[in-house]
């Protein structure tokens, strides 16, 4: 006759976040340092053969074959509403898995794996650019700058939540 059972799972999630470190893969886009949780990352690619997808939004550059799985490639720069990369400029891609699908995120360059302490985590400043704020999951204060945590799920949410 208890109705408690439903409350358990949500309580757990919020509680366990105090002062732990989480590993992030860092990368830069237009000089800004970003990071995504390392557990999401499947691979880092520098060059690959890509198939264009006609009629897709401009930031979707195409799809590629990664070990027998189809990966959809997205230029994060364009998704964030930044200027397109100069022609011939180098780029790298981080392959991340979300909700069972693989996406390749095209960025300017990929850095390293950084363990970051949650005590250095901050919320998004409300003054942040709206587009960036929508895709960011908070900011880490580093010694030599700030790291924006990119929320891959939201980055890839084109309003299809219901269909998912």
């Amino acid at each position: 006759m208890t109705k408690k059972m439903n409350e358990n799972p949500t309580a757990k999630n919020t509680a366990a976040a105090d002062d732990e470190t989480q590993d992030f893969v860092t990368f830069t886009i237009a000089g800004q340092l970003f990071g995504i949780p390392v557990l999401l990352v499947q691979d880092v690619l520098s060059s690959y053969q890509i198939t264009r997808i006609p009629l897709a939004p401009p930031e979707i550059t195409g799809s590629l074959n990664l070990r027998g799985r189809v990966v959809t490639a997205i230029d994060v720069r364009i998704r964030l509403g930044l200027e397109p990369r100069d022609e011939g400029a180098e780029s790298m891609s981080i392959v991340a898995e979300t909700e069972g699908e693989l996406y390749s995120l095209m960025v300017d360059s990929v850095g390293e794996v950084l363990p970051l302490s949650t005590s250095n985590h901050d919320r998004n400043p409300p003054t942040l650019d709206a587009k960036l704020r929508a895709f960011s999951d908070g900011i880490y204060r580093l010694d030599d700058g700030l790291l924006v945590v990119l929320d891959v799920k939201r980055l890839l949410d084109y309003g299809h939540k219901s269909a998912a």
């Binding site: 408690k4 006609p54 996406y103």
Partner: protein, 914 residues
């Protein structure tokens, strides 16, 4: 052993194993609602399957166990170790019964009253009373030992001892252990030995493993292709022979692995007829299960996942959907309820429909229930449409059945169904009309279905087109007879005297003109450079003749002729490659809005290509044409009123002049051995398909010879058949036939020009009546009970069809009145005549069928008479319109079988109402 039974044993044993583990987990986390639900569902499934297989003893044990779990789930009871033990005990009992069942293929005699009593007591809130040592499962264990474990049973007392000890085991762990263990072990071994005999006939493999295998095989294929490529560059390599073998083996391996995943949906349906049969007995209903499209193949994984939902839904249809025979009769429906199951492929999806003609969903009942269960407030419900309200049946914990029966109910059904279907990316649609029935449509993406696809290239990109929608390929070049012409810039192609609308894939996909087919790889590499030309530029360029590209191949264009429904169109592409078997992978979620693609795939060379969806393309480009097309057809139809387009079977008999009958009336063409012909009651008969079939000769024919073979046209109606003896079958001609009526000669409808020759049209009705009425005489009442004496009004302006259909219907037992126009029909109405069913043509001069239907529906006297539309050409649009004005069904004129079936169904309704 019965397939069904062995599958049941495997499944249930698996279920029990899971239950064991989960119950122990539940004991540790009594508040885990999800776990509890999962346990409950497993138990429910076991109970359910026992019920269908007619295993009352197992079912009652499982039912009692489920009862407690149900109370746990609804929080009426608290999960206690005692409760769990009791359920575990219940599982043990099920297991023991299963062992016996496996050995004898039937349930052991006896009952489990004590166990059930205790389970029920626990369910009613009382603490589980201590097990009485020598009661409950004794007979089961007894049976088990008696059947299998002869050597094990050292003395009579032992099994009893075990049973008691085992029972006491859980609540009282200190019970003496060594002895029961010793005795129980061999028993278990015996049980295991038996289990394996069934379990080993097939292996259950994790689908993920198959998936991995598939991926690896794909990799292997790629590597092989690379090797073959290298080999081609070398002459006389010593690797040639082994590589060739490798090639074959890999191909076979690939095929094999792919096959492991595909199964016809019929496999999931195999159980259903039995289930329905048992249900109909248990519920005392008359149920007719119709299954269509059982051969539709779908992915094993998908199949597994929809199996239970399907069973649930069919059960629901039969249990909740269909009414009792009395209710049905009272509601004016045929006594026998119908559950229709249908599966087919459509536009990259598999569609499965489950429909019943039962009571439908009652919005008011659902509302009440929704409010009772606190799923929504009255105010919220007010603002919802009926459909939205009906969808509440998919919510967890919802069940409309007033009483919980042992068949279904408890609200596990529909929410599980929905969850399972959505898990595989499918959707479920509900369509229910109160009083008329409910239909559920499941749409499942082809997730991993394998299709054969044509690979084409356009604008430097390759695409796959499912072979199934490709009709043909046409090569178009400016100097051949197939050249693309333009009407105000719109490309069309003359193809066998028809104008084929064309769609340029390049324009459609906004592809860059500059990329030539040869540059595929480069274009792919440069994919991220923005398309500088812009979309408008591309379109203009395409409209201009493709002269600027040089070389012969550039001048050629390929047209992939595709068909979607009744709409045929051509897709202009640059190049056509091979067909390839492809594994369809769903496109990424963020691309699902693009309706031109049904998926993507990885080709043999490792590159990703998009799979074009002809439905999407047709929808994006063809809507205008589609509508125009329908109009064309309509005008065409008007223009050719004078002659109907029918297939005629031309034959010779009696005299030299060719004779013909509409092919649609002929069931089969046979050649009979004249020595087998016998005479009965002055009539020729022959044994045909286990029955005596009367043979009729054309008027004026000579007696049949004694030897030799003779062609016979077989006309069949349900289980009766009649053969018309002819001399020679000449041809089948599809033509517009204009019949000159000539009623003077018996046995002929008239004559017509077919294939350039004057041909006599034979009055099949005449011969049918002659053969079948003579033959069946007075006993006929039973065989066409539903039709007997039913009055049919047939309205058709074409004398040809009137003359063809009237005798046909008469022979089937109907009392036919045929009139030539809507006006005459309405006059009959005014004159006070009554009919049981009205069959009307649509295209008629003056008042057409639609208008007539409206007039009839508005009249008071005939407004309840069912109407069936008849047309020589039915488009989707006509169909919808027909429904809207009140036609119950739409039958093509040439489709005799459907017409009779439809009439039969419709009249069953009438009969039910009377």
């Amino acid at each position: 052993m019965d397939d069904l039974l062995s599958e049941f044993l495997t499944e249930t044993n698996e279920g029990l194993a899971v239950l064991d583990v989960e119950l122990v987990k539940l004991e540790q986390n009594p508040n885990d609602a999800e776990l509890l639900s999962s346990i409950f569902r497993l138990m429910h499934t076991i109970k359910g399957t026992c019920g269908f297989l007619g295993l009352p003893r197992l079912e009652s044990v499982a039912h009692a166990g489920e009862n407690i779990l149900g109370k746990f789930r609804s929080n009426e009871l608290v999960v206690t170790p005692e409760g769990v033990s009791l359920i575990l005990e219940c599982l043990d009992q099920i297991r023991a019964l299963l062992v016996a069942l496996e050995q004898t293929e039937s349930e052991p005699e006896g009952a489990d009253t004590d166990l059930i009593k205790r389970l029920n007591a626990a369910a009613d809130g009382g603490a589980a009373p201590a097990a009485e040592p020598d009661m409950a499962p004794v007979d089961a264990v007894d049976a088990m030992f008696a059947e299998a474990a002869e050597p094990v049973a050292e003395d009579e007392a032992a099994p009893v001892e075990i049973a008691a000890a085992e029972e006491a085991d859980a609540p009282k762990p200190e019970a003496k252990k060594p002895e029961p263990k010793k005795a129980a072990a061999p028993a278990e071994a015996a049980a295991k030995g038996e289990e394996s005999s069934v379990a080993h006939q097939s292996i259950r493999v994790n689908v993920e493993l198959l998936e991995n295998l598939m991926t690896m095989v794909s990799e292997l294929v790629l590597t092989r292709n690379q090797l073959l490529q290298i080999l081609r560059g070398q002459k006389d390599s010593e690797f040639a022979a082994p590589l060739q073998r490798l090639n074959h083996v890999v191909s076979e391996l690939q095929e094999g692995v792919m096959k492991t995943r595909m199964q016809p949906i019929g496999n999931a349906w195999a159980k259903l007829p039995r289930i329905i049969r048992d249900l109909s007995i248990e519920l005392d209903k008359k149920i007719d299960l119709v299954m269509k499209g059982a051969e539709t193949e779908l992915d094993r994984q998908v199949l597994e996942l929809i199996k239970d939902p399907l069973t649930h839904m069919v059960r629901n249809s039969a249990d909740h959907g269909l009414e009792n025979p009395e209710e049905r009769v009272a509601a004016g429906k045929p006594e026998v309820g119908k559950v229709t199951l249908q599966a087919f492929h459509e536009g990259g999806h598999i569609i499965i429909q489950i429909a019943d003609d039962g009571r439908g969903l009652s919005a008011s009942k659902i509302k009440k229930k929704v409010i009772e269960n606190g799923l929504a407030t009255e105010a919220e419900l007010e603002s919802m449409t009926e459909q939205q309200i009906q969808r509440f049946i998919f919510k967890a914990g919802f069940s409309t059945a007033a009483a919980v029966t042992s068949v279904s109910g408890r609200g596990v059904g529909m929410d599980v169904v929905r969850t399972n279907i959505e898990k595989i990316g499918g959707t479920i649609e509900l369509n229910s009309v109160e009083g008329k029935g409910t239909s559920l449509t499941i749409k499942i993406p082809l997730t991993l279905a394998i299709v054969s696809a044509l690979i084409v290239a356009c604008g430097g990109e390759r695409f796959a087109i499912p072979q199934i929608s490709v009709l043909e390929l046409v090569r178009a070049s400016s100097n051949s007879e197939n050249s693309i012409e333009r009407i105000n810039g719109t490309p069309v192609l003359r193809l066998r005297n028809r104008l084929l609308p064309l769609v340029s894939l390049r324009t459609l996909m906004h592809l860059n003109e500059a990329d030539k087919p040869a540059d595929i790889k480069k274009a792919a590499a440069a994919a991220d450079t923005p398309d500088a030309e812009g979309e408008a530029g591309t379109e203009v360029k395409v409209a201009a003749p493709p002269k600027e590209t040089f070389g012969k191949s550039a001048d050629d264009q390929f047209i992939v002729v595709s068909q979607v429904g009744s709409y045929t169109f051509g897709l202009i592409v640059d190049r056509v490659f091979d067909t390839e078997e492809i594994v369809v992978k769903p496109v990424a979620r963020i691309l699902r809005d693009i309706q031109m693609f049904s998926g993507n795939t990885i080709l043999g060379d490792g590159s990703v290509v998009m799979i074009l969806d002809p439905n999407g393309i047709a929808a994006a480009t063809g809507e205008v044409e589609l509508a125009a097309d329908a109009d064309d057809v309509a005008t065409e139809r008007h223009a050719t009123r004078g002659g109907e387009h029918v297939s005629m079977l031309v034959f010779r008999a009696v005299e030299a002049a060719p004779k013909a009958v509409p092919l649609a009336l002929v069931a089969r063409l046979e050649e009979i051995d004249l020595t087998k012909v016998e005479t009965s009651d002055g009539q020729y008969v022959v044994q045909y398909r286990g029955q005596l079939m009367p043979l009729v000769q054309m008027e004026g024919a000579e007696k049949l010879k004694d030897t030799g073979r003779q062609p016979v046209l077989v006309f069949a109606d349900r289980d009766r058949a009649m053969g018309l003896v002819v001399d020679e079958i000449v041809d089948i001609v599809e033509d517009r036939v204009k019949v000159e009526l000539n009623s003077k000669r018996t046995g002929y409808v008239g004559s017509a020009v077919i294939g350039g020759r004057a041909t006599d049209i034979v009055d099949v009705g005449h011969y049918l009546t002659r053969a079948l009425h003579d033959w069946f005489g007075g006993e006929s009442t039973e065989s066409f009970e539903s039709a007997n004496g039913s009055r049919v009004l047939l309205i058709d302006d074409s004398p040809f069809f009137r003359n063809l259909l009237s005798p046909l219907l008469s022979v089937a037992g109907y009392d036919v009145t045929a009139v030539e126009s809507a006006q005459s029909a309405l006059q009959l109405c005014e004159a006070g005549q009554d009919f049981d069913v009205i069959i009307s043509d649509i295209e008629m001069p003056g008042m057409n069928g639609f208008e007539l239907a409206e007039a009839i529906k508005n009249s008071t006297r005939w407004s309840n008479v069912p109407m069936v539309a008849l047309s020589s050409f039915a488009t989707q649009k006509d169909f919808a319109r027909g429904r809207a004005v009140g036609f119950l069904d739409y039958v093509a004129k040439s489709d005799r079988e459907t017409l009779l079936n439809t009439l039969h169904d419709t009249l069953s309704d009438v009969r039910g109402a009377a």
